[in-house]
């Protein structure tokens, strides 16, 4: 593929900026969007919009700020376009908009914590906790079956999972404030 020099420059500048921010955009979207599959769809749309509007981004403008604004808009668009049936199971547009703004403020801290969870805190899980999480996230059996398998009521199982996540978050917070 041969491109004229100007175009090549724009593309490589875009790629450089986009790839540098892709992971953090993905995390941001995932925290707001209902499912993993929806997250990927939203991410695709965000990338397309960023590329289409890239010439509107001024040389000295902050790419992160700009791309987060686009991401926020696309998350809300996703919420608005949900099919009527699914809409009932997802938080309202107002709430998502409120949380999108607050999470934007905390995005850097949350990213750091998520990385700490993956790199360090997961090692602290017990064998049983790890097994339960694996089964739960691989979605091979439903919650009732899982709860029974681990000798818990359904509520008890959710309490357990909540606590595990809470402990992971605490572990990550401790790490990220000890720099």
């Amino acid at each position: 593929m041969r491109l004229n020099p100007k175009e090549d420059d724009t593309q490589s500048r875009f790629l450089r900026l986009y790839t540098a921010h892709e992971a953090t955009l993905h995390s941001y979207v995932r925290r707001l969007v209902y499912s993993r599959e929806d997250t990927l769809d939203v991410m695709q749309k965000i990338a397309v919009v960023l590329w289409k509007k890239f010439d509107q981004l001024k040389e000295d403008q902050d790419f992160r700020k700009w791309s987060f604004a686009v991401a926020r808009f696309e998350v809300l668009a996703w919420r608005r376009d949900l099919a009527r049936e699914r809409e009932k199971f997802v938080l309202s547009s107002d709430t998502i908009e409120l949380m999108a703004g607050e999470m934007d403020q905390q995005a850097e801290q949350l990213d750091l914590e998520q990385e700490a969870i993956l790199q360090h805190c997961l090692k602290k899980l017990t064998e049983t906790e790890s097994t339960a999480l694996k089964k739960m996230y691989q979605k091979k059996s439903d919650t009732a079956t899982l709860a029974e398998e681990f000798n818990k009521s359904i509520t008890g199982f959710y309490q357990w999972i909540y606590r595990i996540r809470q402990n992971l978050a605490k572990c990550a917070q401790n790490l990220s404030t000890s720099i």
Partner: protein, 441 residues
């Protein structure tokens, strides 16, 4: 735990009905504290999903149409440059440090612990590749270590010497200090003693320089040693006591083979396919294979000049690299096991400047000989990689020339963009040693 907490847990698991969703929605709107909890939970949830979910069916590659021309579509191959190297400092416990490095003399350490002079040390293993280092435990016990040595810090009154030579100085405050070796342990009763653990760990020699120690074998036997007395511990127990003349050095385990080590002395560099050298760092030899047309593929090259050394009759040749984290990219986006290949070239002296080596100027792997493979699990952050193969030994023997150049490439790509860049210490790395060629005669 409150009812709201359970609602959050169930929402993230896509398990709420219409009414419950509305209830959670209202609660979140009015309660900022609950929203904070939600963010923490959603964040941990996203992390766990990354870790435990099965890989999504074929990753959707992002395709974009070029803006000004009708040229074909191109794909984004993401290479994330995000510095998370700070995280490697999170490793230590929050407790008090166990020990302190008080002196390093030409010491090259390989460790997940910090290893510069004055560094606080926590429980963990460290390998001294070259030089001498003095470590002071917070109990006051001092260990002077000679390379090559592998030390494990347990607590302020206990260390494990897996391999190597050292002198232990124990003041009154640290009486009872325990030094474990693979064949037993020594308890110090206020003294100075020398210790030497053979490379294979099968034999440890102890010699008291001053004072008194007791040594304990794994079969339960023990022996007291006084000044100038020495004994050794092996799998079969404790040897007879020897009385030695003061000043005689600690006996060294006998060396069977002569080993010569060569380093690269600045002739090492990474190259990147798109030649964006801002993505390289001279302290690291980076290796990566990304997706698409591999714009961010990185390879490492290094060169050893062995001069007149005759290698036509060597017994064995080994290549040693030190894996270190360079902070670029996410390890979770890599396959569980990553495969690498090592190629060799006899010569390659035409290069003018190693520092600015361009992809096109570097020798290609097609012109080189494959001499070995190795694997690194994505979970591994640091460690020594040893390449010893018949191909490597034969390559040196057959060429018998004064210099050799090696190329390291990664065979396995990433699960998605922004995967981790593997890195090995270059010879300018502040902590770990650069590539070493070991020739055994």
């Amino acid at each position: 735990m409150s009812k709201e907490d359970i609602l959050i847990a169930r929402y993230l698991n896509q398990d709420l009905d219409t009414k419950e969703t509305e209830e959670l929605d209202q609660l979140l709107k009015v309660n900022p504290k609950l929203r904070d909890k939600f963010y923490q939970q959603a964040n941990a949830h996203a992390g766990l999903e990354t870790e435990f979910s099965s890989v999504l069916p074929d990753e959707k590659l992002l395709t974009l149409t070029p803006k000004f021309s009708k040229t074909p579509w191109f794909t984004i191959a993401a290479c994330l440059v995000l510095s998370l190297s700070l995280l490697s400092f999170f490793w230590m416990d929050e407790d008090d440090p166990i020990a302190l490095i008080i002196a390093n003399e030409n010491a090259a350490w390989e460790s997940s612990l910090p290893t510069t002079q004055g560094s606080k040390l926590y429980a963990g293993r460290m390998t001294l590749k070259s030089g001498v280092s003095i470590i002071r435990f917070s109990s006051g016990a001092e260990l002077t270590l000679e390379a090559p040595a592998m030390l494990e810090l347990v607590d302020s009154m206990h260390g494990i010497l897996h391999q190597g030579n050292g002198i232990v100085n124990v003041p009154d405050s640290a009486q009872g200090f325990v030094l474990t070796t693979p064949t037993g342990y020594a308890v110090d009763h206020g003294t100075a003693f020398g210790v030497s653990v053979s490379q294979d760990g099968k034999l440890s020699d102890f010699k008291v320089l001053e004072g008194e120690i007791s040594i304990h074998a794994s079969n339960g036997k023990s022996l007291f040693l006084l000044q100038n007395e020495s004994a050794s511990l092996s799998a079969t127990g404790i040897s007879d006591k020897n009385v030695m003349i003061a000043g005689e050095p600690v006996p060294e385990p006998t060396k069977q083979n002569q080993l010569i080590r060569f380093q690269t002395e600045g002739r090492c560099q990474s190259i990147i396919r798109n030649n964006k050298i801002a993505h390289l760092n001279p302290d690291y030899l980076m290796v990566k294979l990304d997706t698409g047309s591999y714009p961010y593929e990185r390879r490492s090259l290094f060169n050893f000049q062995i001069g007149e050394t005759d290698v036509s009759r060597v017994k064995q040749v080994r290549l040693r690299l030190n894996l270190v984290p360079c902070g670029l990219g996410y390890r979770v986006y890599l396959p569980k096991v990553n495969q690498f290949q090592v190629y060799a070239i006899a010569g390659f002296s035409e290069i003018e400047s190693w520092r600015n080596l361009k992809w096109e100027e570097a020798p290609s792997i097609e012109s080189a000989t494959l001499i070995g493979n190795f694997e690194i699990p994505r979970s591994q952050e640091r460690g020594s990689v040893l390449i010893e193969s018949q191909e490597l030994t034969n390559f040196l023997k057959e060429n018998n020339t004064s210099e050799y150049t090696f190329i390291v490439t990664r065979q396995t790509t990433e699960i998605r963009g922004s995967g981790m860049v593997h890195a090995f210490a270059s010879d300018s790395h502040p902590e770990a040693s650069g590539p070493t060629l070991e020739i055994i005669f």
